[in-house]
Amino acid sequence: MSKFSKKKDSGTPAISTASLPDIVFMLLFFFMVATVMRENGERKVTVRMPSADQVKKIEKKGLVSFIYVGTPIKKYQTKYGKEPRIQLDDAFANVSDVGPFVLKERAAKREEEKPLMITSIKADENVGMGIITDIKEELRKVNALKVNYSTRKGEVFSNFKR
């Protein structure tokens, strides 16, 4: 009998889990760094961006102000209707609010960053060009000439397949 009990003692030692927290922390830090806390609260319009392949990546996210254009989500449709609307920050806005919005964003930036600012238009693929043209005119009035049309990456022909 003693033969067996001896064997039990010298069994394989348990794997040390002491380094588990280190691994988890490493992952944690990665996600902490990669996380962008969405500052613009909830999205109130549905945006399904068109695809394009001649795209560039925006590097400096801090210098980008976003303009969302799309139909209001279900919750707001009774109040705002189904026509495409503009969302700035976290509220519905009119075309005339675009200029002041960009100026406000610009005022918050440092002097040397101001010329590098980009306005990104995130518009739904089915909105009419009328509203986009109005936004572009507003942007021209306040001299925010760097514009980025946000798209998904993909073939343009896939825009018409649905």
Binding site: P21, P50, I58
Partner: protein, 175 residues
Amino acid sequence: MAKRKLQEINAGSMADIAFLLLIFFLVTTTMESNYGIRRKLPPPVDKNQPPPPVIKKKNVLEIVINGQDKMLIEEEPAKVKDVKRIAIAFITNNGKDPKSSDNPQKAVISIKHSRETSYKMYISVYNELIAAYNDIRNRYAKQKYGKPFDKLTEDEQKAVKDAYPQKIAESLPKS
């Protein structure tokens, strides 16, 4: 005095706490892809400014898109897949066809659209035009420097851009 052995703190639950935080960040992370087509708008028009010089009609490639997303290029019906080919032919004409552009520096592409034109149509056409320019520039860069456009130095890129400037004009839709 007998020194009491310091009791070790159990670090086993540290992993649990870290996991909790990890899961929180995992859930809140939005790996938002920020891709887009870059565009520089023309500066606001000054009323005292002299009117722009008249461009010869043959140096303008006129693209018109109506409210039903139907497109006319130089008054001929066209599809999105044709845009790139037509644009390349127009820009690199160099006076061969008397009805097309004189040289790439003079070639202007004009897009007219109505207020009802869909955004995806506009983006698609625009994308194809940029693709045409990128194609031409790449070809020219390979021919002249033996490298694709984005591998060139800044000065070389500028030289290529000067040889094939991107001139895309948009006019306000009439409503």
